[in-house]
Symmetry: T
Subunit: 69 residues, 12 copies
């Protein structure tokens, strides 16, 4: 990992299922515009509630992708 | 969401299963005294260990509920 | 819990499955050198991505264990 | 101010006008259930956008009120 | 401790004597409305000065109390 | 709001008038390249001073916009 | 801006009107003892409440001024 | 308290006895150059150890004093 | 102090008496495995409550000890 | 500097030599897609180690560039 | 070091060369008004960029100096 | 990097020369007791001053090393 230059972007993803799925959904969208995603960091975990139940899990991710030469 | 005034409370919930279940357990209790819960934010994730295994997942939540007129 | 003196160490664990499994893997290793692990706190959650999918979940844990007399 | 015991609550207020008005709106609601509000601290300032314009200013306040004997 | 759901409130207490006494004064007031206080965390320590001497010690506490079923 | 994936960018805006106007100026520019701005958060408020008077208010905003499918 | 050495001081200003005026009031006082104030950063925004209304806005500013040779 | 402009300085005080005495020692020195000290906040508490015992308690204080007209 | 290399460990100590005693208790245990403790920093102060009274003061310390050649 | 609107991006750069060179390498890459870089802030400094020696210095930069009209 | 009372000031220094030189330049200016500087802490590292190259390194320092009796 | 479990320790290193050398000195000592150091993060940079010049650069490092099976 050390030899690259990374671009870091922030994406918010959500899922009705769980935290891990919200992360993967954010990565799916990021992958449409960034070819070489290498890592992510969760910087915030929130959720929306309907009728007392978690309706959506929502994660803010920092996503690092290699910048090509 | 923008037109409401929210009250924000902090609740600690736990679960033997996983982080998502600990969140839902905290919301279940909060729902007994707050009618209109709308969102939550996880502000800390801890756990208790017995015999080397996670015995309880424990989350501190900020919980936002609409204040009625 | 209050009567003990705790040592707090930091361990990074990972898992191909999910966040909870990465925590348990970190605890498994910590247990090889620390007899009396009592609690942990997640201080960072990251992950590594291959072909657009989460390849590894990685958690930084503070782990508290009782120091024996 | 020093001789009192304060209760600190967190309220989110909003306004279509500006930040100061969002603060006052939050205080108006807090005053319905807390008699002796003395101070506040802004802990977050956000807003919602419609058609490129700020539609609502939203502030998270810590609000301190004297607890009576 | 792990099996409970906790409510976390924030109280500011003060004392002319020292930090520990300011904590206890905050707990005394919290106990009037919360039956089952279990722990606290000091989140800020301030004081007021008169004629160059500390007149009041003032502590902001997060206080956790068990929510009964 | 929960069903979307958001991109979060950071923009610094300024104004000779006040904080709210600096926010709107930042949003105006962001709108030139982002169609669906939904929310912002102020992460820093600074200003520049000339002859003892505030010459410019300057705000750092996190701006969230919906990513279209 | 880069060629100077700056001294950074912290001043708390207040105003009955709004946040911007509290900032300017703090700068007015700082200007009595610092000739070359160049920038400020708001590090905290608080207020005092009387009869449910904001009586004073209060801002903590870091203020940077050029140190002359 | 709200009508004043405050200057905030940072002083580190120490004591062989306890935390409260280290605070008072810092205030004693600050009082030699600042007439109207009104409040302080403890921003860090450290200590030095000799032969396994606390030799000195050391506190970093933010100290607020009224600026006279 | 500057010429040494320090190892920094984290220990949680407790006391029924006060904060200073909880610090010394943590240092006593640390001294059993670390010969040359030089300084500490309090990073968190908590407590446990029984019948409305502080039963234990608990401090998290970063402890620095010289590493010998 | 005050009259511009800035875009702030985050780039991770690395160097085998030192911290300053890692910063310049990050700026070199950022310059390929951003014409008017004006300032940066180091938000994290890390490194990778091989055979006990620093193999790469790695810096996370926030980079501000003027947005043209 | 423990027996002194320290005054802590904040100075911003800059250099065309590197981070260490920016620190020394800040100390040089601080030394003109403070006789007994003992330590510093870097609290922020920034820089200004011209034509894609670092033109100035800029550091915010907390500087501690002994207050004489 | 992702498949390992890491132990994270904190070491303070110093150098009369510069920040990079202080980092390497900390790593040299850590290497005496940890075989497989992989990365570090600088968490604080301080220094000691004599006669107005930097006498020692001092860095607090988090150091990650692979735990062998």
């Amino acid at each position: 990992m050390p030899e690259h230059v990374y671009e870091v972007i922030e994406i918010v993803g959500s899922s009705k299922t769980n935290i891990e799925d919200a992360v993967q959904n954010a990565l799916n969208r990021a992958a449409q515009t960034h070819e070489s995603i290498r890592w992510f960091q969760i910087v915030e975990t929130r959720g929306y509630v309907e009728n007392g139940k978690v309706a959506y899990w929502q994660v803010n991710l920092k996503i690092g992708s290699t910048i090509k030469n």
